[in-house]
């Protein structure tokens, strides 16, 4: 069932500037977790605010559960949308205890029903014994859990998470990611979260939407986004990528590193760019090789080499961390492409 639909939603903050969100169209299914990924200023937070009702779209339509929230026929304020939000800074009410924070959205409940719901939700996020604490007495991870519990308590149709893990330490981040995913799946809550961290988007979401300058560049499963980026922007923003010029011939696309299959149905004689991920490229040291290692980045689990080709183009190659070649080593680089991705040159 379709839970949320955005239909050509456009939001412009100033008439003389390009729109923050430009004719955005997407749908989210009930129970799905969707990530909106993009660099800062790409419009992902504005998209969340449009869904939540903190911004009014200039045109287009926001539909939740079949009911129009914003569109030509009217606009529903945030308090009537039934959308939960976890803010980047958590926005916990500092003058209320954890239990009062979680119970804030339950003002329509009876007293006992509210108490029950609060303890149920606090158990769910593992904070059962913290009900009487104040937010400032909690750690960052605990505050995040309270924010999630508070948003989940009224059982919203949809929960929005704005860069939810950006204020946490790296090790806590991975842990909270798993936990949030578990809680959302257990409660069957539909979730949309925005992030600029592709790893976060890939591990949490079933589908990832990549935004750039207010436009949706691609909306697909993480694997598709990585291996078959629809645009040059997605290819560059998601994962590392090098591009080699290629010429389309009857035998395939000829590049400096060999011939790759013409999967893009390019016409013969056309010039294209071939995307190369670091794991597509291997090399062997060779005194007659025409490539040269010009940089080595040790990254723990892998070593990333930068190789300069005779044409001056640079490509990157990811190797096992045990592989050790000094700068200046002559090499012969090879391409092993499983997914051939090409763009017009």
């Amino acid at each position: 069932m379709e839970l949320l639909a955005l239909d050509r939603v456009t939001k412009r903050y100033a008439p003389d500037r390009p729109p923050a969100v430009d004719a955005l169209t997407l749908t989210v299914e009930q129970g799905e977790i969707l990530a909106l990924l993009g660099p800062s200023g790409c419009g992902k937070t504005t998209t969340l605010r449009l869904i939540a009702g903190f911004e009014v779209p200039d045109s287009g339509r926001v539909v939740i559960r079949g009911a129009t929230m914003a569109g030509p026929e009217g606009w529903i304020p945030p308090e009537a949308r039934g959308v939960g939000i976890v803010f980047q800074d958590y926005a916990l009410f500092p003058h209320l205890t954890v239990a009062e924070n979680v119970g804030f959205g339950l003002h329509h409940f009876g007293r006992t029903a509210r108490q029950e719901r609060i303890s149920q939700i606090l158990e769910l996020v593992g904070l059962g014994s913290f009900a009487r604490r104040y937010p400032h007495e909690l750690s960052g991870g605990q505050q995040q859990r309270v924010a999630l519990a508070r948003a989940l308590a009224p059982a919203p149709a949809l929960i929005l998470l704005d860069e939810p893990f950006s204020n946490l330490d790296a090790d806590l981040r991975a842990q909270m990611r798993e936990e949030v995913e578990r809680i959302l799946r257990n409660t069957g809550t539909t979730g949309i979260f925005v992030t600029h961290d592709q790893e976060e988007a890939f591990t949490l979401a079933a589908r990832v939407g990549v935004l750039n300058e207010g436009r949706l560049e691609q909306l697909d499963a993480p694997e598709t986004i990585y291996h078959h980026p629809a645009t040059l922007f997605v290819a560059e923003f998601v994962g590392a990528a090098d591009f080699l010029p290629g010429l389309v011939t009857p035998y395939g696309i000829v590049t400096e590193l060999g011939v790759v299959a013409n999967t893009g149905a390019w016409k013969i004689g056309e010039k294209v760019k071939v995307m190369l991920r670091p794991d597509d490229i291997t090399f062997v040291p060779s005194s007659v090789g025409d490539g040269m290692i010009i940089r080595r980045d040790f990254r723990g689990s892998e070593t990333l080499y930068c190789i300069r080709l005779p044409s001056g183009h640079r490509v990157h190659s990811s190797q096992a961390s045990s592989s050790l070649y000094p700068n200046g080593t002559r090499v012969r680089a090879e391409v092993h492409l499983i997914h051939v991705v090409t763009f017009p040159a």
Binding site: F54, E79, H95
Partner: protein, 526 residues
């Protein structure tokens, strides 16, 4: 579909009446001032020796500023950045003299220094070589009781200065003396300038002190005219002159600050190391306590002693007769503070929701109008447009509102600025409408700031003299008015001292509450 408006109906409902009361009096004065023949005005100005008077007021304001800064700025540095003994106590006491209105200070020093006063009698001479009844005497009083303004602003800036800036200067090879002259002092420039400006404008627009010390200034001439004649033209013209120069000085300050940034606040900056004064510390100690003696201990002691000279039963009977005036002061100040706070809160809140900033900008104008001028303008304006307000205590409440809505607004803005917008949005997303979210979340969180703002306007209204004298309905006297009339007609005798002490004690309680609430960032004025 909701449409974003720059002027919402609620915003207009709040802003329009207040704007009406700011623009109205000024417009009235300009209109009245321009209504007369130019030649006629020049002739009368010559009769009044107007140029000499303006020069005298400028001298008074300048002397006051120099004197107040000489008292306040070294004290701020000593209590914040050195190992001065008892610096915490001093830091707490130093702003307290603001609870003594300068006209009460004038009363105190009349008791002490006037011919036949306590000091000349103690010295066995009839009078002192320098008369208190002079520009120098008025500057002495005004400086003594306004020095807390530069003190508060400079000590606040010193506390906020990031010590890393000074360390960075040391790191690139500057000597401690050069660090002081090239980093510390330039960073203090805006707060020093702001403090000096408040004092300068206080001296420029003062009425209470100069009237008691018989110094002729623009404000006393305006008041004499208002009392003595039904002629509006000349006082209106003088009021326009007084206000024009005030606004000019304020604009100069804006220009002087330019575009450089001076605040450098870092979340967890450690406090700057204190400078060891060595052998100088006892001299500094004597200086600090000297300042507090002149501005706080001596005035309170003199007032107390003067009160004790009258038999307790007489004093009791006298105070009982004065009770209605105290009640007048109290309820008009409470009403003024409450009204100012409600309007300031409405404007502050709506500004976060798209209300044009020109509304609050307008109120800053009211803040710059000298009390005498506002009193005159408001009296004339109300008489012409809203006669049912003129001649009732409502006029006083309107005067307090126009004069002091700016500090209330600043307190509200400071409190709201502490709140991230996401806090209120969180409440909205949890099912509360805009007003419900405000009540449940915003209001409890900004309450301390609102209380501080209310107390501030209450204190300022309680001690207001110049506008009250002109605007008050016949027979409706407030405590400051009674004190002033007593001191003018009878002199600084025990009854005036008793009233003054009552006022000081009434102000001192909320004022010390304000200080303990760490309201030091907000600059209360006039």
């Amino acid at each position: 579909m909701t449409v974003r408006r720059r002027w919402s109906p609620a915003g207009l409902a709040l802003a329009a009446p207040t704007a009406f009361f700011v623009i109205g009096p000024l417009g009235f004065l300009v209109w009245m001032g321009l209504a007369q023949e130019r030649a006629d005005f020049l002739e009368r100005a010559r009769d009044l020796d107007l140029l000499m008077v303006v020069g005298q007021v400028a001298l008074l304001a300048t002397l006051t500023t120099v004197w107040a800064c000489a008292l306040g700025v070294p004290l701020a540095w000593l209590t914040v950045r050195t190992d001065l003994p008892a610096r915490r106590l001093l830091h707490w006491l130093a702003p307290l003299p603001l609870a003594i209105p300068p006209y009460i200070g004038a009363l105190v020093y009349q008791i002490l220094l006037a011919p036949g006063g306590m000091a000349p009698r103690l010295l066995g001479t009839g009078s002192l070589p320098v008369s208190l009844y002079s520009v120098a005497g008025a500057a002495w009083i005004l400086g003594l009781f306004t020095y807390p303004y530069p003190y508060l602003l400079v000590s606040g800036a010193l506390e906020r200065t990031n010590p890393a800036l000074e360390e960075a200067a040391r790191g690139v090879g500057l000597s401690p003396r050069h660090v002081l002259t090239r980093v510390t002092l330039p960073l203090l420039r805006p707060s020093l300038l702001a403090g000096a400006l408040i004092v300068f404008l206080y001296g420029w627009a003062d009425f209470g002190v100069v009237s008691l010390l018989r110094v002729r200034t623009l404000t006393t001439i305006i008041y004499e005219y208002v009392q003595g004649t039904l002629d509006w033209a000349l006082p209106a013209a003088l009021s326009v002159l007084l206000t024009a120069i005030t606004i000019l000085v304020l604009l100069l300050q804006l220009r002087a600050l330019g575009r450089a940034r001076y605040t450098q606040i870092v979340g967890a900056a450690k406090p700057a190391p204190r400078i060891a004064l060595g052998a100088w510390r006892w001299l500094a100690f004597a200086y600090a306590w000297g300042v507090l003696t002149l501005t706080l201990l001596l005035p309170l002691g003199v007032l107390g002693y003067q009160v004790s000279r009258l038999p307790a039963s007489d004093m009791g009977a006298f105070l009982l007769t004065q009770w209605p005036y105290f009640v007048n002061s109290l309820w008009t100040a409470v009403a003024g503070a409450s009204l100012a706070l409600v309007i300031a809160l409405g404007i502050g809140w709506l500004e976060g929701r798209g209300l044009s900033r020109s509304v609050s900008g307008l109120f800053q104008v009211g803040y710059a109008i000298p009390g005498t001028v506002l009193g005159l303008g408001l009296a004339g304006f109300l008489h012409a447009t809203l006669p049912w307000i003129y001649g009732t205590p409502l006029a006083l409440i309107v005067a307090y509102l126009v004069l002091y809505i700016t500090p209330a607004y600043q307190a509200v803005k400071a409190a709201l600025a502490q709140l991230h917008p996401s806090i209120e949005e969180a409440a909205r997303s949890l099912g509360r409408g805009p007003l419900a979210a405000f009540r449940a979340v915003t209001l409890p969180l900004i309450k301390p700031g609102l209380v501080a703002g209310w107390l501030l306007v209450f204190v300022l209204s309680m001690r207001e003299l110049a506008a009250t004298l002109i605007v008050r309905p016949p027979g409706f006297d407030t405590l400051p008015v009674r004190i002033w009339i007593h001191a003018m007609d009878v002199g600084p005798e025990p009854r005036a001292a008793a009233l003054a002490l009552a006022l000081v004690l009434t102000i001192a309680l909320p004022w010390s509450l304000l200080l303990s609430r760490r309201l030091r960032g907000i600059s209360p004025s006039v």
